[in-house]
Symmetry: D3
Subunit: 241 residues, 6 copies
C-alpha cells in the first residue's frame, strides 16, 4: 500500500521527522512517501502561514497523483488544503487534526488539545467545530513552544508539555490528550507513559486510519462535493484542462 504524507511546511528536517514517525507505525506492507511543498513557510503558526501552506499541499497532492497513492495524509494540525486535496484524488485523504479527533473520540468521553503557539488555538477551535467535535473537545491549550523548537525536543520542552497536559486534564476533566502539532510525534509515547491517559499523535492516527480505509476499498467520493476540479484556465499555476 502506498501512502503519501504531505508535510505542509517547508522544513526539510521536520519533513524527514514526520516521515520517520509515519513509517514507524505503518504496516509492513505500507510504503510511505513523504514530501513538502516547493514554496511556503518553514513552520505554520498562524492563518497567513496556513493559507500559503494549503496551496503547497494541493501542489504536492496533485504532483503525486502519477505515483498513485492509495492514501494521503496532510501532516499539519490545521489540516490545510484538506478539501482541495480530496478533489484531486480518489484515495482517502486525512488531516492529522481530523484523524486525532476521531481517535480520541473512540477512547474517552472528552479530550483536550495541547498545541504550540496560543495564537494557533483558534485554528484548532475552528476545526473542532467544523468537524463536529465540539462536545468531545473540552479545551485547546497553547504552550507557546515554537514549532521549530520541537525538532530538538529538549527535556525542558517536554516538561512544559507534561505540565500543560496535566493542567488540561484536570481543568477540562478530560480523559485523553491530542497533540496539536505534527512535530510532537516524537514525544507521544513518553507523554502517554507520564500521563496515564491515551495521548494521540495525529500523524500516527492518520497513517493507521488511511491504511484501514484503503484496506476496505473505501475511497473519497467523486460524485459530488469532492468531484475532480473542473477544467479551466489557470494563470502561472498548474490547472486542469
Amino acid at each position: 500500500m502506498k501512502l503519501l504524507v504531505v508535510n505542509p511546511n517547508t522544513s526539510v528536517e521536520m519533513t524527514a521527522a514526520i516521515g520517520l514517525a509515519a513509517q514507524k507505525v505503518a504496516g509492513a506492507a505500507t510504503h510511505i512517501k513523504t514530501v513538502c511543498p516547493t514554496f511556503g513557510p518553514r513552520s505554520i503558526e498562524g492563518h497567513y502561514d496556513e493559507v500559503v501552506a494549503a496551496a503547497g499541499v494541493v501542489e504536492q497532492v496533485r504532483a503525486a497523483q502519477a505515483w498513485q497513492p492509495e492514501g494521503i495524509i496532510i501532516a499539519c494540525f490545521g489540516d490545510p488544503g484538506l478539501d482541495g486535496a480530496r478533489e484531486l484524488t480518489s484515495a482517502p485523504v486525512l488531516g492529522i487534526a481530523e484523524a486525532a479527533f476521531h481517535a480520541a473520540s473512540m477512547l474517552a468521553t472528552g479530550f483536550s488539545v495541547v498545541t504550540t503557539m496560543t495564537r494557533t488555538c483558534i485554528i484548532a477551535e475552528h476545526l473542532v467545530h467544523r468537524y463536529g467535535f465540539e462536545r468531545r473537545c473540552r479545551g485547546i491549550h497553547g504552550t507557546d513552544i515554537p514549532v521549530l523548537a520541537l525538532e530538538h525536543c529538549s527535556g525542558q520542552t517536554f516538561e512544559t508539555m507534561v505540565s500543560a497536559a496535566q493542567d488540561a486534564l484536570l481543568k477540562d476533566r478530560s480523559g485523553a490528550i491530542v497533540l496539536g502539532c505534527a512535530g510532537m510525534a516524537t514525544v507521544c509515547q513518553a507523554l502517554q507513559d507520564r500521563l496515564g491517559v491515551p495521548v494521540i499523535d495525529g500523524v500516527a492516527a492518520a497513517v493507521k486510519f488511511a491504511e484501514a480505509l484503503a484496506a476496505l476499498g473505501l475511497k473519497t467520493d467523486k460524485t459530488g462535493d469532492y468531484a475532480q476540479p473542473l477544467p479551466k484556465e489557470y494563470v502561472n499555476w498548474q490547472g486542469f484542462d
Copy 2:
C-alpha cells in the same frame, strides 16, 4: 491481535455471519472471536430490544476479559452498551454505528444512513446527535426490511436497498451510504459497485479502526468517566467486589 466481536442479538446465524464479515477484512495477524449474549432478542428492532441487548453486551464483554481482547466491537447499529463496555476493559471498544459514521466523515462531506425498520431510525438519529455527526449525516432512511430477512438477502431485498440508497443520495445530496445494520455487511461491496459512492459497513470499519488503535497502543482511558466499575453488591447478576 485478538479482537472480540459481540453480536448483541442472540441469532446464532447472524453471529456467525458477522464473524465471517469481520474475519474477511481483518489483518492476517488478527484473531477474531465472535460471541452473542446468553439471553435476549433474536433481532434488535426497537428500544426495548436494545435495552435487553445492551445488558447482554456487557455480560459478554465482561466474560471475555479473561481472554484479554485487544479490541472489542459491538456489532449492532444502535451501539448498545457501548459506554458500559468501555468501563469493563482497557481495550478500545467500538460500536459499528460510531465506526461507520467516523469512516463516512473521512470520505464525503455528507452521508446518508440506510437502515432496516423505520422505527429504528430514531435510534440512529440519537446516536448521530450524541456523537456529533449531525452536520455530516444528512438523512436516515428506513427500508422496513426486517433484520432477520437480511440473513438470506434475496435479489428483491437487495433491489429495495439499492433503491432506498439511490433515493437517499439524491434527496440528501450525500456522497456516501452508511449501512444501518450489521446484517447488511454481505451486500456492502455489491451496493458500492451499483451506487458508485463509498458504502460503509460498520462491522468492517470497526474491525479496521480497532486494529488501528490497538496497533498504536491506544487504549480506553481508565482514569475518569470510563474507569473500572466500582465494587458493589449485585443481585442475581455478576458484579464487581
Copy 3:
C-alpha cells in the same frame, strides 16, 4: 390514579425510601406502587451499573402492565431504560432527570445539578444534551458522596451538599439546584430552605408531572417510535410473541 415507581437499583431500603418520597407528594387519589428489579446493582454509579439496571427497569415495567399503571416513573437520575419502557406502555413514562430538568427550566433561567460520584456527571451531561437543556443547565457537580451513604444522610453529608450547591450557584450563576440522585429526595426541602433558591427533586417532579399528564388523558404515543415492541423470539428472557 395508579402510578408505578421503578427504582432501577436493587436496594430494598432505597426502594422503600423512594416510595415514601413519591407518596408524600402524590395527590390524595393517587396510588403509588414502588418496585425494583429482580437483578442488578444495589446502586448505580457508572455506565456498567446503568446498563444492567436499564434491563431491570424494562423487566419491571413489563411485569407491571397487568396492574395497568396510568403513569410510570423511573427513579434513577440517569433515566435508564426510558425509551424502552415507553415502548411497553401507553401510560406516560417519566425519568426523574428529565422531570427535574423540565421543572427547573420553568423556574430559573439556568440551573446546576449536584450529584453523587463525579464519574456519573458524564451520564447527566449526556442526558442534558440529549433532552435539549444544554443552555439551561450551567454545570454538573459531583460531590463524591456514595449513593448508599444517602440512605442515612448525616449532618456532614448534608453540609457537603450545601457547600457543593452554594459553590455551583455562584460559579454557574444559576438560579436553581437539581438533585442528581433519587436518594437525595429526603434533603430537598432542607436544602431549599438553606439555599434560598428552588431545589428540585426529580422523584417529586416526576410524580406530579405524571399525575398532570394522566389527568389530561395524555398518553405515550404508540404510532411511531414508541410503538409496542415487535413480536419475536427472545432467549432466556420474556419477549413478545
Copy 4:
C-alpha cells in the same frame, strides 16, 4: 390553590373561553381567575401585536399580585411577557407554548406544531429554539385560520386542522401534535380522537404543570435573573419605587 390565567389579547369572548378551558382541567381545589389586559389587540397574529400584548401581560400580572396567585399562566402561544412576568412574582409562571413543548417531549420522540396564521410560525420557531426543543419539534405548520375564527370553530375549520395535523405527522414523522393557539383548546380532545396521537393544548398543560409546581412548593427563583424589578421612575406607567 389560586391560579391566574392571563389572556394576552383583549377579546372578552376568548378570555372567557380560555377560562373555561382552564377550569375544566383544574383540580377540585384550584381556583382559576382569568383576566385580560386593559389595552391591546383583540388577537395576536404577529410581532407588533405581541409586543403590545406583552406589556398588557405584565400589567395584569402586576395588578394581580394583591390576589396572591400561586401559579400564573400566560395563555397565548407566543408566551408574551414571560420573563417580565417572572420578575414580578415568586409564583411559578408558565407560558402555554413552553408548557405544551414540555408535555409533548414527555410523550413522543418528536412533535409538530399546528398553528393559525403562517406568519406567526416564526414566533413559535424562535421559542422552540430559545427553549431548547429544536430537536424535538420537527415542524411548525400554519393553517391560516384567523385566531378569532376559532371562537366558533365550525366543522370546516376543524377539518382544516385535522388535515394540517395529518400532513404534519406524516411529513415530520412526528408522534404528537401541539396546538399553536390558546383558542384551539376546545377542539383538542376531538382532534386527539381523530388523529390517534397525543394532542397537547398548552392551556391545559400549563394549568396542570402550574398546579404540580405549586403543590411541590417550587417557586420562581428570586435571587438572580428573575429578581424583583428594581425601583425606579416610570413615566405614565405603574413602576416600582
Copy 5:
C-alpha cells in the same frame, strides 16, 4: 437620509446623549431624529422594564412613519421591540446589540460584552444565542454600574469599565469589547485607546450600518414574517384598521 433613533427608555437626558452620539458618527447628509416613548421606565435594567419599553418602541416607530425614516435604530442593548418595529416599516431597523455583534464579528475571532447590571446579562445572552453569535461571543460581564450613572460617567466609573474589560479580554481570550449599554457611547473612544483592541458602541455601529443598507436601497422584507401588521380592533391602543 433620515434616520430615526428610538431610545426605549424615557430618560430625556439619555435620549439627548444618544442623539448626540448618533449625530457624531452620522454622514454629512444624514438627518438624525431621536425620540423616546411617552411612557415607561427611565432606565431598562431587567425583563419587566424591557417589556414595557418594547411597547414604547413600537409606539414611537409607528408614530414616526409619517416622517418616512429611511432607517431606524433601537438604542437599548436588549433590542426591545425589534421584530415588532420591523413589521411597521419597510426601512431597515437595527437594534444596537445586533449591530454591535455584527461589527465585532468582522474585527476579531471572539468578543466580550461589558454591560451594566449583572442581572441584565441574561438578556444579552439570549440575544447572542438568538442571533447566532454564540461562538463569537466569549463572555458577558456585568459591572453593576447603574444605567443612569453612565449619564455622568466619572473617572471611577470609567476605571471600573476599564478593569472589567481587561479582565474580560484576558479571561475570554477575546479580541474586541462590545459595550452593553447605549449609555456607554461616550466612553467608547477612550476605552479603545486604553485597551488597544476594538471597542464597539452599538449606537455608532447601528447608525453606520443603517446608512449602509439604506444607501444600497435595501429594505426590510415585507412579504413574509415582517409583513405589515394585520388590521384588527385594538383596545386603548393605536392599532391598524
Copy 6:
C-alpha cells in the same frame, strides 16, 4: 477613504466588473482599488480552485499594504484567505459572503442563497455554519450557471436566476435572497425588482460595511488571533523577517 477590493480569481474582465460594482455603491470620498492575484484560476468553482485563490488573496493583500488601504474586500463568495488577510493588516477585512449574510440577517428572519455551480454549495454551507448563520440561512441553491457565463449575463441566464430565486423563496419560506457569486452583482437590482424581496450582492454590502467600520475608526484586532504573522523563513514566497 481607500478600499482595496481583491478579486480572488484571475479573470481580468471579472476584476474590472467587480471594481465597477464596488465603485458604483462607494461613497463620494471613497477610492476603490481593485486587484487580482498574479497566479491562479480564472474562476473559482470548487475547493481546489479556492485553495489556490486564497494564496493569491494573501499575496495581494500583502502587496497592497504599502498603499495603506483603510478597508479590504475579498470579492469571492467563499471568502478565500479571509483569516490570513486579517493577520496582514489592521484595516477591516470583509469577505463578500460574510458581508451578505450579515446584511440579509438585518432585513429578514431567514434568507436563501442562490449561487452558481451546485458543487460550490458546500463551500457556502460551511461558511454559513462557521459564521453562525445556520438558523438564518434556510437554503443554498445551485443554478449550475458557470461563473464566467455571468460576465455576459444574457436574458436566459437571468431568467434561470429568477426562477431559482423564486423557488428558493417558496421552498425555504425566506424573505431575502443572497447572491452567491461576485459575478452576479450586475443583476442584483433587476432581480430585486422582479422578486419583491431584498436581494443582497455581497460586493456592495462589503463595500458599505467596510466604509462603515472605517468611518468609526474600527480596525482588525491585532492583539490576539489576528496578530501580524510571525517572522520566519519562507521558501520561494514572500514571508516576514
